[in-house]
Point group: C2
């Protein structure tokens, strides 16, 4: 329980923020406190082996792990646990704080580095489920959703032209006088220029009509819903806008240099959005955390990133997805929006941001997942068990929280607590993935407690360690004057929308926080 009410906290932090050196100090203190809750990397174990090995310490295709495999004797059947996830009533419980821009951003962010292997790249002697222990991540916030995971993908997505007005640009097309990524398909076939890209997940089930509007992009999930394609479109435009500004400032620079300088800038702007828009939205306290790179420069926790299997699992926030979305005149079931970029193209970028920011998200927590998505919860619990994750109680202990001794330590909802008590013999035996989502939502945050701790921890310990933010790299020459200026002057996503839509954003409401949110 906080010492002061939210409104008193607001006054205290406003006073702190009015004194920049004090604000900087408090910012550093808070970030260090958040990160130091967990052990610093390198983690001794990854999913490669259950013992410490050179392969496990160096081959990042295997996922890291915070805790060693747990041994639990009695575990309920997975099917019996789904009752804890399935929505009771016909209407979804909504989040009082978040708009649908929050889950859209969360998905776009995490699709870039939470990348459990999807293909069965199974070698001799491996079981088919081995892919659940592996990833295709670069382990950095590198905007691979926009630029591709590999050099060959980046090359395919670039215009690569030394012609004036084209230097450093990503390939794009104009539709309804707005800029979008080019289409992946041409005359019903994948454009050969884009053969090296990761194919969009789920494209095989699509109608020709939907397939024709898939974008050629870096990420295999960018096309999954139009609000994610919307975010990628925003950063595509920002990249090309910056490339234009950099070219104007440096007409003698090559295509390569302009491209790389614009990319440096877009990555850092994105990281700034992660901290200053996304994390501040999640944070239950009204202090505005800043992406101050110097916090990490000499921090003992500044060690190479390595995405963990726990992080990959705890980011499955299906309950946030609304049942309906109003892309058109009438609300439509969310399932009809999947891979449907026509909705984005019809609305245009600004109206899409307006719409998504006007729609409340669902609430993360127990009994709020729609029936058609229950199979995803099931496979998440199965992945938890396949990776032999330690118990929910062990992870609370790991982050310095007390172990649950009563069911009510997990959930204050008597229904949930009772159900848990019938499924498990002891609160200490609850599965990690189950405990995570049974917890109460933290007041003034969209997330339950343990998820919130992990998200904040991993955001800072893996975002501020980005090489572009490092001590001798984060300086104006790395970004050019227009790039540096853009970084300094961007604080929320809305700032980027404003400069990338015709006529600006005007008074359109664009935010991860609901316009009608009232602090709890």
């Amino acid at each position: 329980m906080p010492l002061f009410s939210y409104s008193v906290q607001e006054k205290i932090f406003a006073a702190v923020e009015a004194i920049p050196p004090l604000a900087k100090w408090v910012n550093r203190l808070l970030i260090n406190r958040i990160v130091k809750r967990a052990r610093s990397r390198p983690h001794p174990l990854s999913t490669a082996h259950d013992f410490v090995s050179w392969k496990g310490l160096t081959d990042r295709r295997w996922s890291g792990r915070h805790l060693p495999p747990g041994v639990r004797t009695t575990m309920p059947e997975v099917d019996d646990l789904l009752d804890l996830f399935e929505r009771r009533d016909s209407t979804q419980r909504l989040c009082p704080k978040s708009t649908c821009l929050f889950p859209a951003f969360a998905q776009y962010l995490t699709d870039g580095f939470l990348r459990t292997e999807t293909d069965n790249l199974i070698a001799k002697g491996e079981t088919a489920d081995t892919r659940l222990r592996r990833n295709t991540s670069n382990h950095e916030i590198d905007m691979c959703t926009l630029y591709g995971r590999t050099q060959a993908q980046t090359d395919a997505l670039r215009l690569s032209s030394e012609t004036r007005g084209e230097k450093g640009r990503l390939r794009s097309q104009k539709l309804n006088e707005e800029e979008y990524s080019p289409f992946l398909y041409s005359d019903g076939q994948v454009d050969p220029d884009f053969a090296v890209l990761d194919r969009p997940l789920g494209e095989s089930d699509l109608t020709d009509e939907l397939r024709a509007k898939l974008f050629a992009v870096g990420g295999d999930r960018v096309n999954s819903v139009p609000q994610v394609a919307m975010l990628n479109t925003l950063f595509l435009r920002e990249h090309n806008r910056l490339a234009g500004e950099i070219e104007t400032a440096h007409p003698d620079w090559s295509d390569e240099r302009i491209f790389e300088t614009a990319r440096n800038t877009v990555i850092v702007i994105f990281i700034k959005m992660v901290v200053e828009d996304y994390i501040n939205h999640i944070a239950p306290v009204p202090f505005k955390l800043k992406a101050d790179p110097s916090v990490a420069w000499r921090a003992p926790w500044n060690k190479p990133n390595w995405i963990t299997v726990e992080f990959s699992l705890l980011y499955r926030w299906h309950a946030l997805i609304p049942d309906t979305l109003q892309w058109d005149a009438t609300p439509q079931p969310v399932s009809s929006t999947f891979m449907n970029n026509a909705l984005l193209l019809k609305a245009g970028l600004l109206q899409s941001f307006r719409l998504i920011s006007a729609t409340p998200a669902g609430e993360v927590g127990p009994r709020n997942t729609a029936k058609p998505l229950l199979h995803v919860e099931k496979s998440s619990i199965e992945q938890d068990r396949f990776c032999q994750l330690a118990s929910y109680s062990d992870y609370r202990n790991y982050l310095g929280q007390s172990r649950p001794t009563h069911w009510s330590n997990i959930s204050t909802d008597p229904d949930v607590a009772t159900k848990l008590s019938k499924l498990y013999d002891d609160p200490r035996n609850v599965d990690f993935h189950v405990g995570l989502f049974c917890e109460d939502r933290v007041p003034n945050s969209p997330l339950p407690s343990l998820i919130l701790s992990f998200v904040a921890l991993d955001a800072f310990s893996q975002a501020l360690t980005n090489p572009l933010l490092s001590e001798h790299v984060f300086r104006p020459s790395t970004f050019s004057e227009p790039g540096w200026r853009a970084i300094q002057s961007t604080n929320v996503l809305r700032d980027i929308v404003d400069r990338n839509v015709a006529g600006g954003a005007g008074d359109t409401f664009i935010s991860m926080t609901r316009q009608d949110w009232v602090p709890e």
Copy 2:
């Protein structure tokens, strides 16, 4: 100039070392002082681009660089500079401190991670010389010379057997009742089991007789001279010896776990040799530096390794190689020992160590390279210029040393100083690679000043950052009881020889420091 003579320093440091907590503190102080002379990683630039780019910051196939490309207007012809390297007299100038075990260890160590690309893996739009800017390094001290650079190579080198008495072992053969790596060739053809290994450099020029005795090993330079194959043989035996001890202690462990645990141990023992045998031999002061992992745990310089092009160039110590070596009854020219493993097999491991430790090394410095090796000096200067390295003066400044204002600031040898003054218009314009090797040798060290600084800097900043030494990994369970004990009880190479030759090393002199060395 040191404040005290070497013998007084010896007394002071002996007093310090008698008080363990004080010795630990001094050790930490000295290592931090050495490492902090240079900028911490990540370096803003690599050889990928002359500007900061995401590719340059993340793709380690490109070599790092300490300083940005330098612009120098007048530079002498490379051929004219060779006079500074070529030996004057017929007899080699010898190093008063080092035996040939020192260069053998230096080569074995650096062949593992200073790996300028050797094949022309040239893609579209690249020049043929691009390989000089690239590497095939894993950027870790990982004993890839023994275990291979890739998983497939490691698999090929392993016995991979669950049979008792074979678990966790590397493949080997018995010759003259001693253990060696298996031969690479079988009936004149590369054994298909070893097809994935990197082929030994220079093997195409060999006679069938020499080729038949090449070992199947991890490193493509292990076979280059018998004293390097000797070191690899030592660690092969140590691995298999440890695997045996671990199997005895843990009969239930799998081949995989025993192999990985022995490998963890061998890598850490090797790093201990790097610091406590090799670096202490190089150090001009008599304090015995220790490989104390905790020095790096919270150090702000503990950042991911990235081998630099400067480090790669400054480690070319051809002058150390003696003109003759006495493997048999009579001394023979060193050229006849190249890739000649028969010499090692005939002498056996212990006698080889004795012989190499009984032979003084040449002195690193100007005018001490044998004529047949001059072409290597030439290509090093060409690589320096191809990579547009900054000047020798810039690198002195980078490490906090004064820039040279007179020729005598580079060399006190009037011949060398005069020659330099005729070749360059200003001491500040001397090429990095030329200045490095024209400097005077530091008293009581085998190395000239700037090379010494870089070697110590990079040894600590890249060895103590090894993941096996990290805070939550460096503990007994990572190595097993026999492994942990071996780490604790090994201080110099001689300790490892002693337990891996029949009957032990007895009173055989084995050392990088000459038996007849007298401090200067």
